[in-house]
């Protein structure tokens, strides 16, 4: 492994200053499940590694004043999976429990998953579906943006190596709502998504769909918020035909590539299938049913 200096700042300011003073030659370390592998395999170079896990506010997970969820950027998947406040954010839990195996989840953070900015990141479609906002610190102050604007391409995000992700803020959930995340992998565990989808549904009192968000992963340079297909659900009474139509529409938004994980054609098909399935699951969950694809 390449040589580097290790820093463990105790505050966001200290971390941001370190980041600025090391002139682009540093990397932030949260769970390290991507970063340490990238450093070891020389896919990334750093003279300084800045461990953010000693910054107390980054490891906090709590309900916000408006009833949403605030997730410090160093919160691990395991922490998330066992926390009360996060329990209703089922799509995010769906993602957190399939990011690697248990050993990975003990270390990997949702913030790190987002900052690594892989198009196939499992948490990102879930965050998009749940309407997350990102807060990050830069030398010039704290900034916020929608999670949909955060990633800018494979391995790239708006911070451009100059910022520190502080927290993710998830919107309050509607009273009759459900969410889901599902991915396709060739095995049943330990794999990178070939395609994925996240969905959030909120039902009105009359059973029609009041709010809907659909997100697609691994089928473009970054995760895609499928706004139009989701809007087509609003005001409608859920039905298999409706979901089928919307899933087909969503699949047309996928712009995947051919690679060893799958062909363009296959990924478009998977997008259709996964959108359909996540919408079904989200609706069942909105109706109060417990649906789980993996033991939790």
């Amino acid at each position: 492994m390449q040589a580097f200096t290790y820093h463990a700042p105790r505050s966001v300011n200290e971390a941001v200053e370190l980041l600025a003073s090391t002139d682009g030659k540093s990397v932030l370390l949260a769970g390290g499940t991507d970063v340490l592998v990238q450093l070891r395999e020389n896919l990334r170079h750093a003279d300084h590694v800045i461990d953010i896990k000693q910054i107390p506010e980054l490891t906090q997970l709590k309900t916000t004043a408006d009833g949403g969820l605030s997730l410090g950027s160093a919160v691990t998947c395991s922490q998330l999976l066992h926390s009360e406040p996060a329990a209703p954010y089922v799509a995010l839990l769906d993602a957190a429990q399939i990011i690697g195996g248990w050993q990975i989840q003990s270390r990997a953070t949702i913030g790190g998953n987002l900052c690594n900015s892989s198009p196939a990141a499992d948490s990102v479609p879930a965050l998009l579906a749940l309407g997350a906002e990102v807060e990050y610190a830069t030398p010039t102050g704290t900034q916020t943006c929608c999670v949909s604007e955060f990633c800018t391409g494979p391995g790239k995000n708006v911070m451009n190596g100059q910022g520190l992700l502080v927290s993710l803020k998830l919107l309050p959930l509607g009273p009759t709502s459900g969410s889901a995340y599902e991915r396709f992998i060739p095995r049943y565990e330990m794999d990178i998504a070939v395609a994925s989808a996240g969905a959030y549904i909120e039902l009105a009192d009359d059973g029609t769909i009041a709010t809907a968000r659909i997100a697609l992963g691994a089928v473009g340079p970054k995760a895609i918020l499928a706004t139009q297909p989701a809007d087509a659900l609003i005001g409608q009474t859920p039905s298999d035909e409706l979901i089928e139509d919307v899933a087909r529409q969503a699949a047309t938004l996928a712009t995947p590539i051919n690679d060893m994980r799958g062909t363009i054609e296959f990924r478009q098909q998977l997008t259709y299938v996964l959108v359909k399935r996540t919408l079904h699951t989200a609706l069942l969950r909105a109706a109060g049913q417990v649906v789980s694809h993996h033991p939790r």
Binding site: G32, W102, Q103, P295
Partner: protein, 184 residues
Amino acid sequence: MPGKAPAKMAISTTINGQNYDFLCEPRQSLLEVLRDSLQLTGAKEGCNNGNCGACTVLLDGEPVNSCIVLAVEVQGRELTTIEGIANRGELHPIQQCFLEGAALQCGICTPGFIVAAKALLDKKPNPSEEEIRFALAGNLCRCTGYDKIVRSVQAASERIQAGSTPKQNPQPNQTNQQQAQQQQ
């Protein structure tokens, strides 16, 4: 390009209930330090990038791949390694059940599986087969096809729940002859 390695750092940590102080370079993984500096070679190196689970140790009770933890990150934390699973001359029920259930062939993945299985049974004493398989999916075994591993974790779960103390290794002569008689 190679540069001069930054100074070593002094780390204090607790491993298997004992205090350890060691010096390490920031770039050294926990696995490297455990194995090469502290001579705790029970955690195995299978892939060195977090995909096989052979190097699993417990970090504050949670299973982690020690190959993708920096040694400097364990300052002030508590570690359990395979060396800390048996209790003063007595095997842990998981270890005993792995032996009785023939849950190992080459044995290289075995320490990682036992540590991960302990984490599981500590948290969930009576897991279903699916829960065991899901919890152990981060540990690869290429020899056994997993059947006997899963069964041994089930057996350990039953044994722990029954509260029986782990069996001592019986007198060799007796076991074998008893078994031989049962076969006849």
